[in-house]
Symmetry: C2
Subunit: 268 residues, 2 copies
Amino acid sequence: MQSVNRALLLVNKAAGAAPDGLSLNQAAEALGVAKSTAFNLLKTLVAHGFLREERPGPRYFLGMSLMRLGDLVGQQLPVAEISRPLLRELTVATGLTARVAVVDDGCPVFLERVDGPGMVRFHTPLGCREAPHASAAGKAILATYDERRVREICQAEGLVAHTRSTITDVEALLADLERTREQGFAIDDEEEAEGVFCVGAAFLDHQNRCLGALSVTGIRAEVPAWRVLHIGQLVREYADRLTREMRGQSAELPPQSLGAHSRRGDGR
Amino acid sequence: MQSVNRALLLVNKAAGAAPDGLSLNQAAEALGVAKSTAFNLLKTLVAHGFLREERPGPRYFLGMSLMRLGDLVGQQLPVAEISRPLLRELTVATGLTARVAVVDDGCPVFLERVDGPGMVRFHTPLGCREAPHASAAGKAILATYDERRVREICQAEGLVAHTRSTITDVEALLADLERTREQGFAIDDEEEAEGVFCVGAAFLDHQNRCLGALSVTGIRAEVPAWRVLHIGQLVREYADRLTREMRGQSAELPPQSLGAHSRRGDGR
DNA sequence: CATAGCGTTCGACTATAGCGAACATGCTGG
DNA sequence: CCAGCATGTTCGCTATAGTCGAACGCTATG
């Protein structure tokens, strides 16, 4: 499946090549193929709207089809649709950027975001994976797993340090997860990026397996110590609401009170 | 480029196959190829995250990469980023769903949307093309072109009727466009969908060529006759603001007052 | 327990995608 | 204004890589 591989790689290249786009020669060189080969690939991708050809001196950018398809991903996952109004409320209530992620192999993948009102914008593309051990959403997810599974994931992903505060030791991480379970929400205190503070909480499916997490993100200064508890409880509360609403739609289970702190899932 | 073609077709199939996803056999049949061929294609797409494989009984859905890439499209087009706060304001001011489209071969392609507060949700996927003759955004765009180009586009697209009110006659369309130019905004009065009312206005680049259009959408009942003028002027005003802000960023041209009704471009 | 339907693997054949060289085009600098 | 270069585009040959079909294993169902 060589040609398909190359085509898809090209799309990724075009994604990285902002804001000037990709030229034919760049494409050919990036793939290590002849110019004519890259030429054909590019034309095919353009024909399907996966790339956009901007003249003159053809430069290639991501195409409109990707936007349409990207939008559809969210619609295939019911989570995004349902969580949107909750994110909006959460943003208003906290003044922070609120996001929702689904879990993919233990990592949070962010589906949807509602930016806060502040000056600061965070570089948080939709659809991106974040590290499980260094993000509030990730730790909220891990906290629903049992120790064995957490160790597996840590092994697979590796506890790479993003900042000085990143937890790089498995035992320390397990302790942090225990605290997360106790208080009902996870905290990322500059563990993913310097100066950035996040709070996250997991939501569950009808079998109490973790589906994903809500989180709010702000700069450290926006979140003084005395606000943390309040924000944490708010995020927890909204995550529970999301759990209930997801159940309400996909299965007709009764809203069965979740209990304030009953997310002690077994992770499988 | 047969295999790439087939792969990209599969992605589109998977997009349409909501909410149950695509099975191997469906995929093979849809393409008219052997099962093993479809199998390889699917696996390759999954490896790149363009599709997601859900077990058991492997079903294929759109993958997370598409979401990430779709999000990036917007970032490569400066329009989406800049228009977002304007859309938000416009939604608040009108109580309607506000959207922004860029022009692609005369058709509006919608980049970004901010839903209104009402109960009604519109089925308006991002990245989708709409008919130029039957949407407010489309007519706002066409109104910036000269007669020859409008006729060309009509020829190419065909004036298909979506509802009883759709304009299917070129002369009538040209008259409507003239009115649009006079009042500064375009109106779609149930021409695209029954019961749906839209108002749109074009925004321009630094050479006064049409870049795209803003529009607001509501159900007919939300937009009584006496509100139309006010809403129209509002949309016109925001489109002009967008024009100015786009110029402010990409080129350092002075904000040069646009004049209330100076969008009489020549369309090329 | 049998069977039908699906996903998955394998090897052979041939169409197809890849290469390289030649041709076109559009800019830059002399 | 022309020459030269860099870039995009086309074409034919060749071998590779993608396609097919058939065989296998699994699960789900009557």
